[in-house]
């Protein structure tokens, strides 16, 4: 028995029609159809990292960024606001941790690389990256006292950056524009280095009144030598 080509076509068309008709009443999968919406999880992740940073959890904030965007060191974002925010979080976290991100328990070693900052060389490298990232962001967003405060913080930790940091932070402090408790803490440390005890106390007082927790204004982590 031979089946004609026409017959095969008829059978195929019939099966298609039947399947279409029966599909209308097939509600076994829950009845309704929902589009599969893809939402970039990094949007929420970066927002959470920003919150963690604001609360003083710099290591957690940095870990979140490095896990989500492992290649961030090389990206040098210019237009993508999400990446710019993520880069800023990481840069500020590095400065607040003096170049050492204690993330061994959270992020694989091959991803972490020099971010761990176990040696002074790595810490310097991390701080230099932090300063560079904040300078780039400031170039695009001129006259942002929040960013200037953060650049001042980062410079205050970088070898040879203290004079510039002092200029930036003193100028902001004179206009009551320091954007964070950590900014006042960096200023207090810079003033102490210059032997300005009274100024150090004033800046520390501002840090303590602005900080959400007392640990924000506690002494910075010592750097590897």
């Amino acid at each position: 028995m031979t089946i004609s080509k026409r017959g095969i076509q008829m059978v195929a068309v019939s099966m298609s029609v039947v399947s279409l008709l029966t599909a209308a009443s097939s509600l076994a999968c829950g009845g309704d159809w929902y589009p599969e919406v893809q939402i970039d999880p990094r949007i929420r992740g970066v927002a959470e990292a920003e919150k963690a940073l604001a609360k003083g959890n710099s290591v957690a904030a940095a870990g979140s960024v490095v896990r989500m965007i492992p290649q961030i060191e090389r990206l040098r974002p210019k237009t993508d606001p999400l990446l710019i925010r993520a880069e800023r979080v990481l840069a500020v976290a590095i400065a607040r941790e003096s170049g050492r991100l204690a993330l061994e328990q959270e992020v694989p070693a091959d991803v972490l690389g020099h971010w761990l900052g176990k040696t002074k060389l790595d810490q310097d490298k991390n701080l230099a990256w932090s300063v560079d990232a904040l300078r780039r962001e400031l170039a695009a967003k001129k006259d942002d006292p929040g960013l200037m405060t953060e650049l001042g913080e980062a410079l205050s930790k970088l070898d040879g950056g203290q004079d510039e940091a002092r200029t930036i932070l003193e100028s902001l402090a004179a206009r009551d524009l320091i954007g964070s408790a950590q900014g006042y803490k960096a200023l207090a440390e810079l003033r102490l280095q210059k032997g300005d005890d009274a100024g150090q106390k004033l800046a520390m007082k501002r840090c303590e009144s602005m900080a959400s927790t007392s640990k924000v204004c506690a002494s910075s982590a010592p750097r590897a030598s």
């Binding site: 929040g146 303590e208 009144s209």
Partner: protein
């Protein structure tokens, strides 16, 4: 030859004197005439076109610069695009048509329900006294008690306000008034009670009307929102315009929600007499009481939740994180330059504002009396609404009711405590 020159000069002088005398009569007559039932004709050939006080052409430029079309129809400019059109945006939110998620709409809706529209400026000159418009632009007051927003106090000088008033009132001549019967204020009040005027209008300073409930039906409620307090009408309209408007509101302003009550000329004169001549007994506003700084800790979370994000953030936001243009209080608008103020976060608030010279300054810098600038702006809004002396600091929130004393206390306490996170 010399005699002919002399004769020509004398003739010119005489002509000038006649013209001057006529012009003076035309200007002076508005407030000197008894209310007349014969004054009710809508503008026809018997019109009186006063000489504008300012430069209407410059006024048009200023209306564009101050973006009056963000709120008002009838400015002579097309409505602002949705992203800058305050009331079209609110309308779409209330009607569920604004292009955001249902969850966002549900979140927005309660905030805009009482800020649905602004009065149109159509035929302004046929309704309002040009001089009154000038004073109102310089010191806006709450004309419409059932409408939450008020006219913002713009950055205007008297010359600019005069030019804007000249432009907005141009082309709408006042109906000419003729002599006739004087209205009876007592009958006017009775008529107003019978017609239910108080269903929409407040009339502060006179004994309360019997029909004073706000109508629940939505169209009526919207009409009521735009209905001015009649206390101000005597100054706003003047006699001629009031008579003409009461006689046939839609002949004067096509889009008015004021119904035509088919009043007789005598009834119109009676109502106008009551509105214009009834002595007003206005209770002075209670003075604003500044509450002491709180001794308990005020966190940023609390002050942000109760004040900054609820009130300030709408006009002062960060375009990068919130979308849009950052609002008029950040990137500029309504004639204000870009101030770069953002209430998006703790850090952005501490970043201050950009002054006239382009320099960043703190929102918390102390003014000569020791009050932080931000707190002074919140106090100034109370001064503005109470028609107290105009403060050098612009009142905030702009065009909205002043913050209650407790909320200002919260802000002041947070500032005094060092702006803690």
């Amino acid at each position: 030859m010399a005699a002919r020159h002399w004769l020509r000069s004398v003739l010119l002088l005489l002509m000038a004197m006649v013209v001057g005398a006529c012009a003076k009569r035309g200007h002076g007559r508005a407030h000197e005439r008894p209310l007349s039932s014969a004054a009710l004709a809508v503008p026809t050939q018997q019109e009186f076109a006063p000489v504008p006080l300012g430069d209407a052409a410059r006024g048009r430029e200023l209306v564009e610069r101050f973006e009056c079309n963000r709120c008002h129809e009838g400015t002579g400019f097309a409505s602002a695009p949705l992203s800058k059109n305050c009331f079209a945006c609110h309308e779409q939110i209330i009607d569920g048509k604004f292009p955001v998620s249902a969850a966002a709409l549900a979140r927005f809706r309660p905030h805009v329900v009482s800020a649905r529209e602004a009065p149109s400026l159509i035929a302004l000159g046929a309704r309002l006294e040009e001089r009154w418009v000038v004073e109102y632009l310089l010191a806006p007051r709450d004309l419409r008690p059932r409408l939450t927003p008020t006219m913002p106090r713009l950055s205007l000088d008297r010359s600019q306000a005069t030019d804007i008033a000249a432009y907005l009132t141009a082309g709408s001549p006042t109906p000419r008034a003729l002599a006739g019967a004087t209205g009876n204020p007592r009958r006017g009040r009775e008529l107003m009670e019978r017609k239910g005027c108080a269903a929409c209008h407040s009339f502060s300073g006179v004994p309360q009307f019997i029909t004073s409930e706000v109508p629940s039906e939505s169209a009526m409620a919207r009409a009521a929102a735009l209905a001015p307090d009649l206390r101000f009408t005597r100054d706003r309209f003047g006699t001629d315009r009031l008579l003409a408007f009461l006689s046939n509101p839609r002949a004067i302003k096509a889009d008015t929600r004021m119904p035509n009550f088919d009043l007789t000329d005598g009834e119109v004169a009676d109502i106008a007499a009551y509105i214009r001549d009834t002595p007003l007994s206005i209770e002075p506003d209670a003075p604003f009481v500044r509450l002491p700084v709180l001794s308990r800790r005020v966190s940023f979370e609390e002050v942000n939740r109760r004040v900054f994000s609820r009130t300030c953030h709408h006009c002062h936001t960060d375009a990068q994180s919130a979308g849009g243009d950052g609002g008029p209080g950040n990137t500029g608008g309504f004639g204000f330059g870009p101030r770069g103020i953002s209430f998006s976060s703790h850090a952005s608030i501490l970043a201050g504002y950009v002054d006239e010279q382009g320099e960043r300054r703190s929102l918390f810098e102390l003014l000569p009396d020791g009050t932080p600038r931000l707190v002074a702006a919140l106090f100034a809004r109370h001064d503005e609404t109470r028609m107290a002396a105009q403060n050098a600091v612009r009142g905030m929130p702009l065009a909205l009711p002043p913050l209650p004393a407790e909320e200002i206390q919260l802000v002041e306490s947070w500032v005094a405590q060092g702006k803690p996170l």
